[in-house]
């Protein structure tokens, strides 16, 4: 069923169809509408979910952790400062191997305070142990919210999954979205099989134990095995979702004219749409331009990415956040992935779009043109659309 809806509504609809047992949330721009839609579903009696209107994001995720450990299927959503406030608990959710799906309506972090999009919130959670997926459109936000639930709950994964969608650009714009039937989504996500649920009072378990130098290291290594399981499960979930939805998802990233591309742009989220238009224009002019849009950012698909760049002469990696004092986080991922590769294209790092600064097709065409003239990889940050 095709509908013209906002990214918020698309995510909220996916959540309604999944119908988690517990939805704990605290409102923040630009995520609030997800909380509002879900509250409406609960108050209208459309879902049986227990809604916890928490007094902060920290408590919202803490309640999710309690509910997930108890054996419930749980979801939440946040943005920006909310993510910053709850990030302590996100690390714990990952350490306790709890499958919590969280929509992250990407918004810049303070200061200065700003409500518009960049990826500084997602970057803050980079090392949290949560799986991170980025979406280009409302359709992808809908689809990946559904896929995330299955990925998070897979017995080999059991980790929180963040579904990133660009604040305002995706959350507040109306786009055509193909929705699945409720029944199709329910069958796809299936029954939730919790591990050692706290509510099994006949088999009491201790959750969140205290582990010192004698065990901490081994437990964290075991956590990494959850991350190691993600790529295979991610592909399997994509395959199954493609089958039930008729939409094609195959791989950790989407390539656009990538096969024979000599000049490649790598960018997360909605800006990939702009980049596609830039690639089209440059192809018309005869430049072999291409795009690589990662869907999966954590774990980072390093080998597949290096393989996909085997024809590239130069690659522009775009970061929508500073990692102050060093290069962009996505750039560093790409550089590390290519270091072990036989073919190493020239790399350039661009910071763009901070605090909602618009990035246009001509801006990205300029990046491609500049990329042709960059002689070698340098430790230099470049900027798109910055007044200097």
């Amino acid at each position: 069923m095709r509908k013209a809806i906002t990214g918020h509504k698309a995510v909220a609809e996916a959540m309604r169809q999944i119908e988690p047992d517990v939805f704990a949330v605290y409102p923040i721009t630009p995520q609030s509408e997800i909380a509002e839609y879900y509250a409406e579903y609960v108050h209208e009696g459309l879902v049986r979910t227990e809604l916890i209107p928490a007094e902060s994001e920290h408590s919202a995720l803490s309640a999710c952790v309690g509910a997930a450990a108890a054996g419930a299927r749980v979801m939440t959503a946040t943005a920006s400062q909310g993510l910053a406030l709850l990030v302590e608990v996100l690390y714990i959710a990952a350490g306790m191997r709890l499958p919590i799906v969280m929509a992250l309506a990407n918004r810049a972090l303070s200061a200065p305070i700003n409500i518009h999009c960049d990826h500084s919130d997602a970057y803050l959670a980079r090392d949290s142990g949560a799986v991170q997926v980025f979406c280009e459109s409302a359709q992808e936000a809908y689809d990946y919210t559904i896929m995330a639930q299955k990925l998070a709950e897979h017995e080999k994964v059991r980790l929180p999954v963040l579904v990133n969608l660009d604040g305002f650009t995706l959350t507040h714009t109306v786009q055509p979205v193909d929705l699945l039937e409720d029944e199709v989504v329910r069958r796809f996500v299936g029954e939730h099989n919790p591990v050692f649920p706290l509510l099994d009072v006949d088999r009491p378990v201790t959750w969140g134990a205290f582990a010192m130098h004698d065990y901490y290291f081994e437990l964290k290594r075991a956590q990494e095995s959850g991350m190691e399981a993600v790529p295979q499960v991610f592909l399997a979930v994509q395959r199954e979702f493609s089958r039930v939805s008729g939409r094609r998802y195959a791989g950790f990233f989407e390539g656009y004219h990538l096969e024979d591309a000599e000049y490649v742009m790598i960018v997360l989220g909605s800006t990939a749409g702009t980049a596609k238009a830039a690639v089209d224009e440059l192809r018309k002019r005869g430049l072999k331009a291409g795009l690589l849009k990662p869907w999966l950012w954590r774990p980072f698909p390093a080998n597949e990415l290096a393989e996909a760049l085997r024809a590239a002469k130069a690659v522009a990696v775009l970061d929508r956040a500073f990692s102050f004092g060093t290069m962009g986080a996505l750039y560093e991922d790409v550089a590390a992935a290519l270091y072990a590769a036989e073919h190493r294209p020239t790399l350039a790092n661009y910071v763009y779009g901070l605090g909602g600064r618009d990035t246009s097709v001509p801006d990205l065409i300029k990046v491609f043109e500049e990329l042709r003239r960059i002689p070698r990889t340098e430790w230099t940050l470049r900027y798109i659309g910055l007044r200097e």
Binding site: D21, E50, A67, A70, V74, V201, P204, A209
Partner: protein
Amino acid sequence: MPSIKVLAEREEKEVRFTAGHTLCAGCAEPMVVRTVLNAIEDPVVVASPTGCLEVATSRFPGTAWNVPWIHVAFENAAAVISGVEAAYKALRKKGLITRRTRFVVFAGDGGTYDIGLQALSGALERGHDFLYVCLNNEAYMNTGVQRSSATPQCAATTTAPVGEAIPGKPQERKDLTEIVVAHGVPYVAQAAVSRLIDLANKVERAMKYEGPKFLNVLTTCPLGWRTPRDSAIPQAKLAVETRYWPIYEVMEGRYKINYKPKERVPIEEWLKTQGRFRHLFRDPRGKELIAQIQAEVDRRWELLLQKERCFGPSA
């Protein structure tokens, strides 16, 4: 009302909190925890924030908990139990859980009065069905006796030491019990480790109510109070006799003082037995400070009497 015999029988049948934890010798916490758990007949799920109880009972790969137990962080036990209780409700609606289960938080004063106050207030306001027990030992004992907002005025702590300029903690302790009362929850009470039957009775009365229940239990810490190891019970007893720690409950907004000391024992009698107040008896400013502490104890006691008169069971 559960007698000692009933509590003992229940514990014999099912040990909910086992030996082998690493709490200090003379610590009052296990007595409170066992009494509370034995006073509840239904299955129980427990949440604890970071603190003495948590580190001393959950060192991997061991555990002292023979009931389902969860620790997440320092400031969020009330939020965690909110989630557990919501999960219970959701799974019960689906018919996946049939047995009645109760939810209890054991938290220190640091995790309750200070860093966990927001989460507590949120959970109280939302009306989750749980019992929150504050094991109030009046400082951050787990991390080395730093002051909290439950620490009494003038007490020496590592972050409010006795110095030439400032003799111990300058501020009065926060009246958290009254803050909880202001939330309008069905059951709020103060208890002390020296009165375990009173504590058990309070737990039993509390658990008859749906919704949030709160118990603030004076839980002596010989280490932090700098008293002998065998002093936990007499210390708590004296705190009650001096009216420093009134034993009372507020049921549906109705105040009842459960124990009124017949004689007015001066606060000095309690202060002089504790190392954390030793300076008050050596310093020339001590007399005046003791008088201040006494005045505050008297003021709070009078206020409580007035509340009982105005909002008592018969008022």
